[in-house]
Symmetry: C2
Subunit: 263 residues, 2 copies
């Protein structure tokens, strides 16, 4: 009951935030640079995070918030209820494309993901799940994923990890590019998680993601039988940056054993 009420509340906030974002395209995007030129941030990012925080603080004052833009709480544990929010995941797409970005939200209770959401704002597609109750795309149940093999798989993998880089031995990923049926890169971890959950791609990995990028998607992915860990195969911990892998169960072991070797 508590979770069902929280689920309705979170969905309403997400949909309202989506409407605000779509309207914002009418006004000019004010862009400023963060430390990394690849990590652009807009006023809209901040406004959307503040919109969520204002409502959560009022209606669920005992809940804590970990948000990309830093207006939430400083957390050292995930005790109690914690909202892990990326108001706009895929900021570069947001700025360059005005599409292919998402609102990503996970609600965790004592470290366990109980509600997960990925909202593809421009396509009005809300991926959601409540732990133990399956996953949904809008109101349609998402089927549990069937097994597949590397040679039949489409892998979400950015070319940045296939070139020599400080995080992973790229020889293994070069073999993966050769062995897989296809490689895609969409530029939004949350959407790529949603794509894995719906079977549009079969795995997605990245060397450096933050808790808010993956907290919502991890709940959804696990409900359809995908496995999400870091690239050492360890449980996700959601308190700091880490590597990330989500894949159909049948691919997850094979990817870790045969293709992934961290530096």
């Amino acid at each position: 009951m508590v979770l069902q009420k929280l689920d309705r509340y979170a969905k309403a906030l997400i949909k309202e935030a989506g409407t605000k974002i779509r309207h914002s395209f009418a006004s000019e995007l004010a862009i400023e640079s963060k430390a990394d030129a690849n990590d652009l941030v807009t006023n809209i990012d901040k406004e959307i995070e503040q919109f969520f925080i204002k409502h959560i603080r009022t209606d669920y004052p005992e809940h804590l918030i970990l948000g990309e833009e830093g207006f939430g709480d400083n957390l050292s544990t995930l005790d109690g209820y914690v909202w892990l929010l990326d108001p706009i995941d895929g900021t570069m797409n947001f700025i360059h494309q005005q599409r292919n970005f998402a609102i990503s939200l996970g609600i965790y209770k004592d470290g366990v993901g109980v509600l997960g959401y990925i909202y593809d704002v421009m396509h009005d597609e809300l991926y959601s799940s409540q732990k133990g109750s399956g996953a949904y795309l809008n109101d349609e149940p998402i089927p549990v994923l069937e097994p597949t093999t590397i040679s039949e798989a489409i892998i979400g993998l950015n070319a940045s990890w296939v070139i020599p880089n400080p995080y992973i031995e790229n020889e293994g990923l070069i073999r993966l590019v050769k062995d897989a049926r296809g490689i895609r890169s969409y530029g939004s971890a949350a959407l790529e998680l949603a794509y894995v959950a719906t079977g549009r791609i079969d795995a997605y990995m990245s060397m450096r993601l933050s808790p808010w990028d993956i907290a919502g998607g991890a709940v959804i992915a696990e409900e359809v039988g995908a496995v999400a860990t870091n690239l050492k195969g360890q449980k996700l911990q959601f308190l700091g940056q880490d590597t990330f892998l989500v894949a159909r169960k049948s691919l997850h072991d094979s990817l870790l054993s045969n293709y992934i070797s961290l530096k």
Copy 2:
């Protein structure tokens, strides 16, 4: 006048074909393998090509057709009116995702592209142009592209070309991955051309494309000031497979001079 009538006719065929494809998802996709496991083909591909050919043969009997599925004509020149058709560009996406594929059509007169179309079937987005009259997304004019730089650019580039491969020195592309703002890969040449034309990505390249993959998009891209050539910088010839590069004018030279070295 002739072209305007032909434009209306082609658009009507494309829209009807799109409706057929959307309906086809109700019935199961019958998949068979071509020589390359990556080059899947479905019954729907063939049916859609035959649908176009039947109508064109009846209504424009003097026109020739070059189609991916091979039901059209064997051409040794592009004399007269020629329709260059890919009924489903992005077949792997079509099969795995049921989205992110397009109908790609260029109509050429004596080798010159006069009409170009890319129809993103599932998003109901029709990119179109008539040579000299600008380009449109549905009924909205697509703005002419502004200059940009490599460090601000998002490049459409599949990881397959960044690993050692028989076509291109991958060291140059490794530098490009480092220098560009971001890399994306969507798995449909036609849609990536449409993305370049609308400024969502800034360049797209591939080592091996067929005339029907790019004939429609080339007309659209040129109307908004993008430059489309092969990877030697030569004019596209549309009679056989070739390498391909489309980019904002300001990037095209820089990509060819500084990053691309064919084997």
